[in-house]
Amino acid sequence: MIDERTARRLARRHAAERRFKLYGMASVAVALAFLVALLVTIVGKGYTAFAQTEIAVEVSFDAGAVKEGDFAGLVKSALAARFPEVTARNEKRELFGLISSGADRVLRDMVRDDPGLIGQRRVVTLLASDDVDMVVKGHVTAESGRLNARQAEWLASLRQAGAVSLGFNTTFFTAGDSREPELAGVGGAVVGSLLAMVVTLCLAFPLGVATAVYLEEFAPKNRWTELIEVNINNLAAVPSIVFGLLGLALFLNFLNMPRSAPLVGGLVLTLMSLPVIIIASRAALKAVPPSIREAARGLGASRLQVVTHHVLPLAMPGILTGTIIATAHAIGETAPLLMIGMVAFIVDIPAGFLDPATVLPVQVYLWADSPERAFVERTSAAIMILLAFLAVMNLLAIVLRKKFERRW
């Protein structure tokens, strides 16, 4: 029988135990809640960017205007014909503001593909401007948005006539950057990211594996190799922006390489991810049991043959996993690329390693700074693409590890 005082104390101690466990669960819950909140916010804000408002109007392909290449004029006269009551100059300008300033390109392409259109009338769906887009998608009400009362009225009448529709936003995937949200896309940034990634992979993978093989299999234990080891461990923890400063001073100012080039971006990311790849590769090499090496040595293989014929193939899944994870991290990196001028406003899609380019995370940064409401959803959508890309890479790494993992 325990006396009452002990029982009370025991109850208190057990309550403390439950509280302590609860703190632990609460911490995990808080961390996961943040993760969920982050993802829900991004997806909730971004999914609408994959659709785009279009307005159907009847365009008459006037031969004279087509000849002069004045396709913007065609758009304007089509709108004017749709709303004949609008005559005042400033009202007309407001009316034309409903349609994107890039809408004329559609007409130009149509005429180029089918010259027989000239002189005819067709109903064409034209890209709406971002202000209209925001209202149609319900991100802002017609009153709180940037449309004025007249524009809202016209939009309402168009919607009543069933001329306004939402279509899949292909521009977002194919186009480069633009000042007009409805014409901006991540195409250029994705290509830039891929180019930089190719440079990083081509340099960091062989160099990283070579370093790891040397340190793990060949290096004598002396001051010099110890220095290299300490160095690599410290480099892995240097803030990424310092690598950007290195890139600026070394590649741009000393070697006079072009600014904003994916080549330079790739080089900076290489230097940044090299230590991580080396550390991962060394761990993978270390996991190969010494008995394999000894057996091969015993059969007369040279040291290099032991490595290339036996150790490296066995360690390759681990090395690849580490490389993929390091590369995925490098793709999401922004700060060092700001230093080497990849923040420029670039409309064209880069075609080579020396063309000015931007990358996906920098594009996110640039759009996040833009004041237009429509860029918020586009930023979120760009983030979704970035995250999807990273998720695929990490899944690949996990699958690789699961499939080829060996327990010795």
Binding site: A31, F34, T41, V362
Partner: protein
């Protein structure tokens, strides 16, 4: 893209060398009726390496020194008046010459001297391209021929190839050292130039930061003040907030995962927490600026507090979330590394699990945990995108988390993004800040690694 073609040709030559070397080794040993010393592959590799490496060295040497050589030759061709300009002015002039040669608009009117210089520049560039192509191809073919002549059955091709490969491996492993040297040198050189303009004590202890220096002498105001204390204070404040979030959450999460969670739950939670570390920081920045900051501002208004929309709190909290997995995974590792016997002894004496954790496990794991926390602090100090997007630019010297502060990394980005004049103290200040950042994080990392290492030794 001529460069790519050249590299492709060189690679092709190496491949041809590989093939020829192998064939020749087979043919010669058949003719001499004796077994070759090495496997055929090694004779092939021997020839391929001899043809590829010298050519590659020529190419790399050209890539490294071409700009310098061309520049000095063009400068020599300039009229004496231009040659005597101070270095910065000369740099600008050379920039214009380059732009003129590339057909881009220049910042000044084109005079005949400049046109001539641009002409020289273009001529030298073309000459250099032709010369390097000829030289590297000659090196490749020469190396190939020489190596091929040496291929005989008694050539120890394997030993030669292996020795060379080992040298290459050593070369690769020095890149890490060169990276560090490069970082230190580039930061140091630019910082020294900065400290020539702004005394070092003014930079380290000055209380006012406004890097807008006058570009023209008649510009009003801004003489530029480079006292970095507000930046250090801001960085410290935001890191402190981040650690105040990350430390309890990360530690308790680690304790829960290591001591309480069933194995299956742990297998789900751990990777999910690590997702937090895999999300790019620019995404956190966007989240902080768009969601967390307005939320905190509105919450502050309801409570009657005035919270700036670029408050240190928003940036710090979001940064803390980002750091949680760094804290939790290291703490998890060290807690699991504490030997079972310690726990069992404590439980056997009648302590509850939480008492065991608080009084036995955590004290035993403390060095490792402290090391992990130090690493997390160094992450927080060096973190850039979250603060660039969510914290402000204004260099306030304040300890109020509801106000706007700025950090070292934010200022590096603002000073270097956009138009810059490379030699102004404004630009150089970024390198001085970078140097401080590098030194502080380096010290933290070294300390953390030492602590963790000592802890590992204790229980291994």
């Amino acid at each position: 893209m001529q460069l790519l073609a050249l590299v492709a040709t060189l690679l092709l030559l190496s491949a041809v060398g590989f093939h020829l070397g192998r064939r020749r080794a087979a043919a010669r040993s058949a003719a001499a009726d004796r077994r070759p010393h090495s496997l055929p592959v090694y004779y092939g590799s021997y020839v391929a390496l001899w043809s590829g490496l010298p050519a590659l060295l020529v190419l790399l040497g050209w890539l490294a020194f071409e700009p310098v050589v061309v520049r000095s030759l063009v400068v020599d061709s300039l009229p004496p008046a231009a040659r005597e300009l101070p270095p910065e002015r000369l740099g600008l002039l050379m920039n214009d010459v380059r732009n003129l040669a590339a057909g881009v608009v220049t910042s000044r009117d084109v005079d005949p001297d400049m046109a001539a210089a641009a002409e020289t520049y273009l001529r030298l560039k073309r000459l250099g391209a032709v010369a390097v192509a000829v030289l590297s191809l000659a090196a490749a073919i020469g190396g190939l021929g020489l190596a091929l002549r040496r291929v005989r059955p008694d050539l120890r091709a394997r030993n030669a190839v292996e020795k060379l490969v080992e040298r290459l491996l050593i070369g690769a492993s020095t890149i890490a050292v060169f990276t560090t040297v490069g970082i230190v040198l580039s930061l140091l050189f630019e910082s020294i130039r900065f400290f020539n303009a702004v005394p070092i004590h003014e930079f380290l202890f000055g209380l006012e930061w406004s890097p807008q220096t006058a570009i023209r002498s008649d510009q009003v105001g801004s003489s530029g003040a480079f006292g970095a204390v507000p930046l250090f204070a801001g960085t410290f404040l935001i890191s402190l907030i981040a650690m105040a979030v990350a430390m309890p959450v990360g530690l308790f999460a680690a304790i829960y995962m290591a001591e309480y969670a069933p194995r299956r739950l742990r297998a789900i939670i751990k990777p999910l927490l690590e997702v937090l570390a895999g999300i790019p920081t620019v995404v956190y920045g966007f989240f902080a600026a768009l969601t967390v900051a307005p939320f905190l501002r509105d919450a502050g208004t309801i409570l009657g507090l005035s919270v700036s929309s670029e408050s240190a709190l928003a940036a710090g909290v979001v940064m803390g979330i980002m750091i949680i997995p760094y804290v939790s995974s290291i703490a998890d590792d060290v807690i699991t590394a504490v030997p079972r016997s310690l726990r069992e002894a404590s439980l056997g004496l009648g302590a509850t699990r939480s008492e065991t954790i608080r009084q036995v496990v955590v004290p035993a794991a403390l060095p490792g945990i402290v090391g992990g926390l130090l690493l997390a602090v160094s992450r927080a100090i060096g973190e850039t995108m979250i603060v660039v997007m969510a914290a402000g630019m204004a260099a306030n010297l304040t300890a109020n988390p509801f106000e706007t502060v700025t950090t070292v990394t934010v200022q590096i980005v603002t000073l270097l993004v956009g138009d810059q004049e490379f030699d102004s103290p404004k630009t150089l200040a970024a390198f001085a800040l970078g140097l401080v950042l590098f030194l502080v994080t380096l010290a933290l990392n070294v300390a953390a690694l030492q602590v963790v290492k000592r802890f590992r030794e204790q229980y291994d």
